[in-house]
């Protein structure tokens, strides 16, 4: 028996040794050939608490070995064209190399000989990223939907869980849509999401309580759409939008989403009361966003192209002549009164459209997306991310992070050093989530895609990831609990003049 055990252990050791990954000792050729990996995780800056950046090697070769070594020590070896790192090893490597570079060397075996491809470097930023990212996962449809989900990713471990899916209340005759999940101050104690059609309403969760509200009142043009939680008061600013879309017969943009009317409202959670805060009949106001101190509300606003000729049909005709500026209003939390609107970024004069203002947590930068026209940049290939330094008033594109395709729906992480946004840069159709480091000089670095534990899934999943929102903690409710909340009767909000 003893002999058997020893034999077994020896065999196991032999197997372990023979299966272990070693850097090939014999290499031929120079280092001229660049490594081509997908997703492109080369020359990026990524957070020290990030999940493994797994990838696929696309260079030719029948066998591959990847070596990742840190400037401050530590090494990872992986074999195969699909490179997946073990979480614990990866975390140890990152911990040892905070604010240092990792060098990647890929060895490819061709015709029985090993070649080292040109090494590349990534920098491990000492600035951590918020641990959780909540997003919607759905196929790129337009009007109809049956299956889609809100999911949450733990960005440190890669674990991904379903928050809610619209099959929980399946009804073959009517669909259920949910959107615009948003959190107060990056925490999950207070958050909200909309449910449309079946069991529709706005689900507002405050601590252990939940209320499903109908924000459409006689005094507002629609229910609440794009939300903005006030950082300290029990208030949510919403845009109210009459939205419609039309379809291009041959234009590459395929669809245009328009708001023939839109205003801003303020919802008082305690009083269950809404009031209009920006309802200029000659303007379309949308995408509200508070400054971190809660004393200013930013939003996008467009002037009607030609009031005399204006109708819902004519807006379809002049769809590419609607330009949104970034505007702000001061807010006094004590009196809850707003100041006069003030244009911060004049896009209209450039015949461009600036959307989705987001103020950095330190209050210094305004991040927005700038496109050719309209209110829905994710369908506009020319859309890019821009920032304005509020201290100097200088505006500039985030050139390193932008792409030749649509870059939109962006958010800041709570530390202000990371931004997340959605982009169609990969294939022009599927929206994928990208991160970029925003340095202390106000410049964004090369963006990188949300990794998958199995990188082949990145492209297997023919689904779009949108509305990425950071939080520092996980959502507290289970799918079943949210389903229960959603099935509760809707409470009608009151309208205050």
């Amino acid at each position: 028996m003893r002999r058997f055990c020893i034999g077994f252990l020896a065999l196991a050791a032999l197997l372990a040794v023979s299966c272990g990954v070693k850097v090939p000792s014999v290499t031929v050729g120079g280092e001229a050939e660049a490594a081509v990996i997908s997703p492109d995780y080369t020359d990026i800056v990524f957070p020290c608490n990030f999940q493994p950046l797994n990838f696929i090697i696309q260079n030719p070769g029948d066998k591959f070995i990847t070596r990742v070594s840190g400037v401050n020590g530590g090494e990872l070896l992986a074999k195969g064209a699909v490179v997946r790192f073990k979480l614990r090893d990866w975390q140890e490597l990152l911990e040892a190399n905070k604010d240092a570079d990792l060098t990647y060397t890929i060895y490819a075996r061709r015709n029985g000989q090993w070649t080292a491809l040109a090494s590349f470097r990534n920098h491990v930023s000492a600035d951590p990223i918020d641990e959780f990212l909540t997003y919607r996962l759905l196929a790129p449809s337009y009007e109809f939907y049956t299956a889609f989900q809100i999911r949450q990713r733990n960005l440190s471990t890669g674990k991904d869980r379903e928050v809610y899916n619209n099959r929980m209340h399946y009804n073959p005759k009517e669909q259920q849509c949910m959107n615009c999940h948003q959190f107060r101050n990056y925490r999950t104690e207070d958050w909200q999401m909309h449910v449309r059609q079946v069991l529709g309403g706005t689900l507002i969760i405050t601590g252990d309580e939940a209320r499903k509200v109908n924000l459409k009142t006689d005094g507002t043009i629609s229910a609440g759409v794009y939300p903005a939680w006030h950082p300290s008061e029990n208030l949510i600013a919403y845009s109210v939008n009459k939205t419609r879309q039309f379809f291009h017969e041959k234009n590459i943009h395929k669809v245009e989403v328009q708001d023939p009317a839109s205003d801003l409202i303020l919802y008082d959670i305690d009083r269950n009361e809404v009031r209009n805060i920006a309802s200029d009949p000659l303007a379309f106001e949308t995408f509200p966003s508070w400054t971190p101190d809660g004393r200013t509300l930013y939003f996008s606003s467009a002037q009607q192209p030609d009031v005399a000729q204006f109708s819902s049909d004519s807006i379809a005709i002049c769809y590419d002549q609607i330009y949104y500026d970034i505007v702000r209003m001061s807010f006094d939390p004590a009196t809850r009164e707003f100041g006069a609107p003030e244009t911060v970024y004049d896009a209209q004069s450039q015949e461009l459209s600036a959307l989705l203002p987001r103020i950095s947590p330190d209050g210094r930068y305004l991040l927005f997306s700038l496109g050719e026209y309209g209110t829905f940049h994710i369908w506009h290939r020319g859309s890019d991310l821009w920032v304005q330094d509020l201290a100097t008033g200088e505006s500039y594109p985030l050139a390193e992070a932008n792409s030749d395709d649509a870059d939109s729906y962006h958010n800041w992480a709570s530390g202000g050093r990371w931004i997340v946004f959605t982009s169609r840069r990969d294939d022009g159709l599927f929206t994928r989530t990208y991160f970029a480091y925003f340095d202390r000089d106000g410049q964004a670095h090369k963006a990188f895609m949300l990794p998958q534990s199995n990188p082949t899934e990145t492209y297997d999943r023919v689904l779009s990831y949108n509305v990425p929102e950071f939080t520092v903690e996980p959502i507290r409710q289970s799918v079943k609990t949210l389903s229960h909340y959603i099935s509760e009767p809707v409470v009608q909000a009151k309208y205050a003049e």
Partner: protein
Amino acid sequence: MKERDWFRWGAGALLAAALVLLVLKDDVLAKMYALSLWPDMTFYLTSGLQPGVLLPVLGSVLTQLSPLPVVAMVLVLGSLAALMLLSSKVAGRNLRALLPALLVFCFLCGLDYAVYAMRAQGVLFSQTLGLCFALLLILGWQKLKNKAWKRVYTGFVGMFAYPLIGVYGIVALLGICLEALVEEKRGWDYILRLVVYGGMMPYVWAAGIFTHIDARYTYFAGLPYMDFVDHGVRFVPLALALLSVALLPALRGWKPRTRAWQPVAAVLVAGACLWGFSFRDLNFHLELTMERAAEKHDWKKVLKCAERSDHPTRVIVMYRNIALMYRGELCDRMFTYPNESIPINTPSQISQTEVCGVPVFFYNGLINFSARWGWEMSMMFQRTLERYKYLAKVALFTGKEKPALINTYLDIIGTCPFERKWVEKYRGYLNDPSLLAQDEEYRMFRLLDNFEENRHISSAVVENTLLSHFAEQPDPHGLMLQLALAAAMTRKDIETFWYYYDKLLAEGGKIPRHVGEAAILFAYIDRNQQEIDAVAQDLGGVNSLTVQKFIQFSGEASRASGEEAVAQAFKERYGDTYWYYSYFVKSLTTD
């Protein structure tokens, strides 16, 4: 004849009947293949993570292994034979043992227009497999001799069958418990097992693992319930099949005396069931056949199919018009066919756009809308091989999409074992655009793509959208001009017709038959002698066949009275003219 012989004969008869029906429904089998896809990660993320996951996965795999209807027939017959064999092992060789196979086949024969809009995957095999698995589990229990082991096994089935095969696991448990109650003197503890495992385990699984499943459908897991909640009658044979599997083991010992008439009656009842539950609709089958023929560019077959229906749906009319367009005969022959608006024969809420939007938009050159509906359908129902093929072709044809997108589609199609050749062909186009230029579909698309960009609020009604698209072209030429005239004639839009007619004259060449008919009719309606003379001149003078025939038609029309009788009389003589369409086809129902 002994009971086991009756079983043999019955099984043989059922398989023979199944073969006949499958041959008659070969177009449905082909469609089921086109509407399947090799399971992948998106499948799991969107619909796969639910109790009974094994069934849609295996069902999809088997469907994917049936690229030809004949292979599907063999596999369906094989699965039915396996079901009958297992059933006979569990319940003994008697006619009762044929019930599950008969009922599940009735369910399959009942598949109608719902196949276009199925949310469940692999339905052609998944339910038969579910019944087989349930019977296998019961058989396993029967094979055990030791009572204690039987109880352990029951617990195992009760706990672990549900997540894999859904409600079929509960059916197996029910079958085991009922047989135990009949067989064992002290088998009352099985009631408790049934209550605990059958009543509670699905909820335990739902609370622990399947937290994202709508609790209302806990006991429907593994069934295609999402497709049938709006039309429950389709469920009846399947529900009875499940019930029969649950009851058969308990009836194993029941051997009533067989009288000679009973097997005969059983055959008659079985035949009546198959006939009664089977969906038979000529237009449905023609549409499926036309769609396949169009995919192969077999326009002759498309036209031949159309001739078989005296009362076509608009889907059939649209396919026929596409075939005529490809053959360059649209404006010569489009009104030689009954332009009826027979609604599609389905109790489900399925629109014509859901039935044919993707291919019909594609063949008419509105490929943005084809892609749109490809995705809408994928989102509403399921992603399928057929939809991906159109999406890939659209992405390739526009010339504006990124190669990464085309490759994504091709990679997904390439996961299907029998589609590698198709993928190679289109990958070749991607790598060498000169090959694409030689593709017949692409060449036609280039002709159809020759239009001014327009925008639509919706494209939810396929024929309306097409008519608007073609009839609102500011400056069409060649094929687009023919389509513009066809649309104007279909809409009976006189003003638009004249606009395009003048363009046609300016282009020169032969005036198509229906265009000539429309021109003389509209000139007559306008009561403008100068115009009539001019048109008559265009058509070869007053003695031309068209003008002479129109004079005859208008004379008879002015004297006629009694609308219905007149319509019938005119149909016989002028049913193949535009005049008949214009006068007697009052309104088209396009959706």
